[in-house]
Amino acid sequence: MKECNKTEKWPPEVKQTPSRFRRPLSKYKIIRNENCDNCGICVDVCPYGVHKFVGKKVQSPNEHYCIGFACQGTDHYCIDKCPQNALSLVQNPTMEALGDHRWPADLILGTWYQAEYGRPPAHLEYKIGDSGDGFDRLRFNFELDNQTPTSWEIDPEISTSIELNRRGDNRPQVTISVPWYGGGMSFGSISLTVMLARAKACAAWNTFTCTGEGGYPDELVPYKDYIITQIATGLFGVREETIKRARIVEFKYAQGAKPGLGGHLLGDKVTPAVARMRQSIPGMSLFSPFPFHSVYSVEDHKKHIDWVKEINPKALIAVKVSTPNDVDMVAIGSYYAGAHIIFLDGSYGGTGAAPDIAKKNIAMPIELAVPKVHRFLVEEGVRDKVVLMAGGGIRTAYDIAKIIALGADGVVTGTSELVALECTRCHNCESGKGCPRGIATTDPRLSAMVKLDWAAQRISNLFYSWYLQLIDILKRLGMKSVKELVGRTDCLVYIERYEKENEKK
């Protein structure tokens, strides 16, 4: 990775990339009844381009540009301005069918906005979700007192880069310009186009993305300096060739959404192309084994890391683990075994397919695991010798800043990148034709819905918006670099749950 990449065009510029659909979802519905006479007043009044002329008639409104009731009382509120009062505004009922507690409709629309414009929206949610605890009850101090409005510009003094090799061994230093890299999504759980788009965006931002369990498609080779190859329990597509090619090798011991369970790729997603990459049987579900069957204890783990270090003397080793009770023991065990990066994947992380019982019940969310591990590594005196990355349920720039304040060095993204490509969190990715957005599917017809450049730009725009917000947060906290924020729980505040049934305790 050329160090000077930073100066070329940094940060990668934003290009407005609207939705692929004719009528993108919106929070509001504008109804135009028959007595509209196409007078066009609404067209001139609305500064957001909601109403447009098509020939002589005013076409049906682009509702997704409308800022809704916030416009009431202003001089450009089309509903009042319409002489025939043919227009009426209403909350869009379909919003109830979009998203869930973790990713509420408002946050999804806010993320789509950021993916389109590369900056945070004014009238949509972009900071928290509706999960009721964890990130959604944590605030930065400055959020409590009314913040001065932000102007969202870049400040070159504030650095957001982090080094990934702090062991001080004779392996090369790897620096990424933003404190996040893309998590493992295998070829098979998502389409090849989406994989390439993630790689392209991460290359532009001088960070990494991970191949996931399904092997290392050759189409990714052009981005090989920005690719983390993953060795998972099934050892699919793992060859010395792919290990030698990568600068970071990640051992996937577990995935946050289904901790302790191997990969689930159901039969109809195992197309001939996927089967060829994994050298398995088309149409046959792939339940990769649960543990690494060659690693049943921490000294086996040490052997396993030494093996990859022997194959590729230049690569850094990342260990992806989930968040059990003894996550601090696992982390310290991994450090002693020689890992450079410990990646904790929280239980509310994303997945292509996972048993519902596992997603909800096994292991703990990332917000609770990171402080535990950070504190333990500090007590052990090795915190500054290892990189602690946190993933699983990171949705917004504020989540990134909060988890770093709780003790992580950086973040691993996953679902948020797919939401940037207009995923609606409809939870149908596990079956072959499941993803009607063409993202988490290997069905040739459906995956054609995603174009490479469109997708790469969407993800890059989202990263740009995060970059702006991160700089703004650091500035408000009076910090010069994201490294200063690590472990600074003093900047955080937790909003207590109002114990209505505290007498029931």
Partner: protein
């Protein structure tokens, strides 16, 4: 001892279940496109939907997976989704529509509910949702038990067990072992505490219990000779003192209420191999009651809470997971826990509840209401008000009913294998009371957010 396997078969529902959202496709303003988006729906909602004679409504809600593809692609924006009221009427605050729909899916397919994307629910909830289960990695491995790849035993013994055995010098066993029975999965079937269920439902449960190799706790008053062929899978539940006389000779398992515990010898008279279970409500002082029962030789104690898993007591009712812990640990403290089998029931609505109750100290659980949901019951409780049942549950065919319950238990069994596999456990009996494999939200958040300033709530 060979490998236990549950034969599941696709059994579609008799009534089309309501889906969460209704698809409303306006006709006014339709541009009549050549390639209408309705044809491109990956789930074929618009081909499959029809008119439901019973509900007098469209059936699109069942097939729609709210992927919103059509909503966004229709150029004229004619399609929108509205939450389906029939869906929101299902069940109640504890037995949510999502739980009921998931139980229907499992009863239909027998498969583990698998879905894409991360967990979308709230960060934490009440009762069972305040507790997560642990997993193993690196320091110790998981158990590769999915679909029986590496065997995980879910068998449990019901009955009294000696603390230790006695052998003579040439290794022959001299101690007398009290009778115990092995059931192949840690679940007993029963009827819910409410509703009137007639023979088809009872036969479904009896057949399922036999196929699953577990027990169906059946009211004695409903028993007659037609059920004799299932006798060694039935635990007859006695309600009154007089009824004891009418217990059939072949019955091996009897359940008696707490107030009839003095009659235990009468029940056991002449049938030393009979195994008696005493039904005890969760409540204040239940620990003392259980200790006395164990001390005078009761082999099985069935502790029950209400359908929401709460103690039947006004002030601060404990939830089943906390109450069973108190009973379990008080018996451990007295050194007698391993002699008795503890069953727990009340509020067991999902597979994870079964696992968590066992972790908190129960040897096995008893499910009732969940089985009725498997038979398509919508918990509308109309039958309680004398109104006709919307799904005519008493008209089901008992083969159909039995397979539905077998499918549900098959799915629960597979999910238990997933959870135990993730922990690296190979035998469900070792899971009992293993709090090391549980994560409690209150403890963890106290420790993790210890040094973060707290601000009072909204």
């Amino acid at each position: 001892m060979g490998k236990y396997h549950i034969e599941t078969k696709q059994v579609p529902p008799r009534f089309l279940p309501p889906g969460p959202y209704c698809v409303i496709a306006k006709e006014e303003g339709c541009l009549g496109c050549k390639y209408c988006v309705k044809k491109a729906c990956p789930y074929g909602v618009y081909e499959k939907k029809g008119f439901d004679i019973k509900e007098l409504r469209e059936t699109s809600s069942y097939y729609c997976h709210h992927c919103l593809f059509c909503v966004e692609s229709c150029p004229a924006g004619l399609i929108s989704l509205m939450p389906n009221p029939e869906y929101q009427r299902l069940g109640d605050g504890y037995w949510t529509p999502e739980i009921i729909t998931s139980l229907w899916r499992q009863a239909e397919t027998g498969k583990i509910p698998v879905s894409g994307a991360g967990y979308g629910g709230p960060f934490v909830g009440e009762g069972f949702d305040e507790m997560w289960t642990d997993m193993s990695e690196i320091v110790r491995p998981t158990r590769d038990g999915i679909h029986g790849r590496e065997y995980i035993s879910t068998a449990v013994e019901l009955g009294r067990k000696p603390l230790a055995l006695e052998f003579d010098p040439d290794k022959k066993m001299v101690s007398q072992i009290p009778p115990f029975v092995e059931i192949s999965l840690p679940v007993l079937l029963s009827l819910p505490s409410w509703g009137r269920w007639d023979r088809n439902v009872l036969f479904s449960l009896a057949k399922a219990a036999a196929k699953l190799n577990t027990l169906f706790i059946m009211p004695l008053k409903e028993f007659d000779s037609t059920f004799l062929s299932f006798i060694d899978h039935l635990m007859l539940s006695v309600e009154t003192k007089e009824a004891i006389r009418s217990i059939p000779a072949q019955a091996q398992f009897i359940e008696i209420p707490l107030d009839l515990v003095s009659e235990i010898d009468v029940v056991r008279q002449g049938h030393s191999e009979r195994i008696i279970s005493v039904k005890v409500p969760f409540g204040p002082g239940v620990e003392k009651t259980c200790l006395d029962l164990v001390q005078n030789g009761v082999p099985i104690i069935h502790l029950f809470a209400d359908e929401h898993g709460r103690e039947m007591v006004e002030l601060r009712p404990r939830f089943i997971k906390d109450a069973i812990q108190d009973v379990h640990f008080s018996l451990v403290e007295q050194g007698v826990r391993d002699q008795v089998t503890l069953l727990a029931s009340g509020g067991i609505a999902m597979a994870e509840h079964m696992g968590k109750t066992i972790i908190c100290g129960a040897d096995a659980v008893v499910v009732g209401q969940a089985l009725m949901v498997a038979l398509e019951c919508r918990l509308c409780k109309e039958c309680e008000k004398g109104l006709p049942c919307p799904v005519e549950i008493n008209a089901i065919d008992s083969e159909w009913g039995a397979q539905r319950i077998i499918n549900l238990m098959g799915s629960w069994h597979s999910q238990l294998l997933e959870v135990m596999g993730a922990m690296g456990m190979r035998d469900v009996r070792r899971l009992r009371g293993e709090l090391g494999r549980a994560i409690f939200y209150r403890d963890v958040i106290k420790e993790s957010f210890a040094n973060i300033k707290k601000v009072s709530g909204e």
